[in-house]
Subunit: 132 residues, 2 copies
DNA sequence: CTGGATGCAAAGGGTTTGCACGTTT
DNA sequence: AAACGTGCAAACCCTTTGCATCCAG
């Protein structure tokens, strides 16, 4: 898949993107599938995956993975940090100052000859709900 | 699995740990399996996985995952950063100063009520070999 | 009309697991 | 002897894919 391919419009794909834009929960493919199943009774999980891949290819979303067996999807395609609760598994966005981001990017440059294009910084712990 | 379980000694498990301690390549389970197959002709891939899980449970190694379909394993159980080549897929360790590490850990604290226990910072790009 | 989009079901592929046998303590 | 370790093969589970059909442009 690459961006020279052209995609038609599809109601299912539009709705998937809308869902991802309308939530901060970073849902799994299956969660999206369940949510849309009432709207599109014939919807198949395979098609959700197909459309998620197309949306990634179009640069509208990104796939997240934190070591679990399944992936999560994020309606924000730009690299940003996440906080993963090790108790309930929830994933939330984590804001980092631009200034700090630059510092982090700088760290990598210290270490050699590689050409670094991006980094991934995620935090793990116990979320506010689970802490009590 | 938890640390109240007791494990016996097993030659296969010892060798898996030796291999992980003796390489910087962060091999996959399958790579370890292939490497040990000549030494233990009856070795099964399932047993490699079982032992990798036990070694993780014992805190001797860690599992790494960078979004590929398969995991890699690291003989160094302590959190540290990696560099992943987006062309050849190789994974190498990346040293970060203690001072800088403290800074990164501090970033997370700025952002709220969560209890953060660890972070994961990995860099992606093109490695020295692939850059030419 | 042409070629992408979909549903369905099957296939993929890494990882785990049940079972009977082997091995450590 | 008791219980963990192993090989083997099957099962798991998320994800992808082949195919016939449907639908957008």
């Amino acid at each position: 898949m690459n961006d020279t391919m052209k995609y038609r419009k599809s109601r299912q794909r539009e709705r998937i993107l809308e869902i991802l834009h309308g939530t901060k929960s970073h849902p799994t493919a299956d969660t999206i599938y369940i949510e849309l199943k009432s709207e599109f009774p014939d919807l198949s999980l395979g098609n959700v995956y197909r459309n998620l891949n197309i949306l990634m290819d179009q640069g509208h979303i990104q796939r997240l993975d934190f070591g679990s067996t399944f992936n999560r999807f994020d309606g924000n395609p730009h690299i940003h940090s996440h906080f993963i609760c090790e108790k309930c598994g929830s994933v939330s966005d984590l804001e980092i100052d631009h200034k700090d981001q630059a510092e982090i990017a700088g760290l990598a440059d210290k270490s050699g000859l590689r050409k670094i294009s991006r980094y991934k910084l995620d935090f793990y712990g116990i979320c506010e709900k689970c802490i009590h």
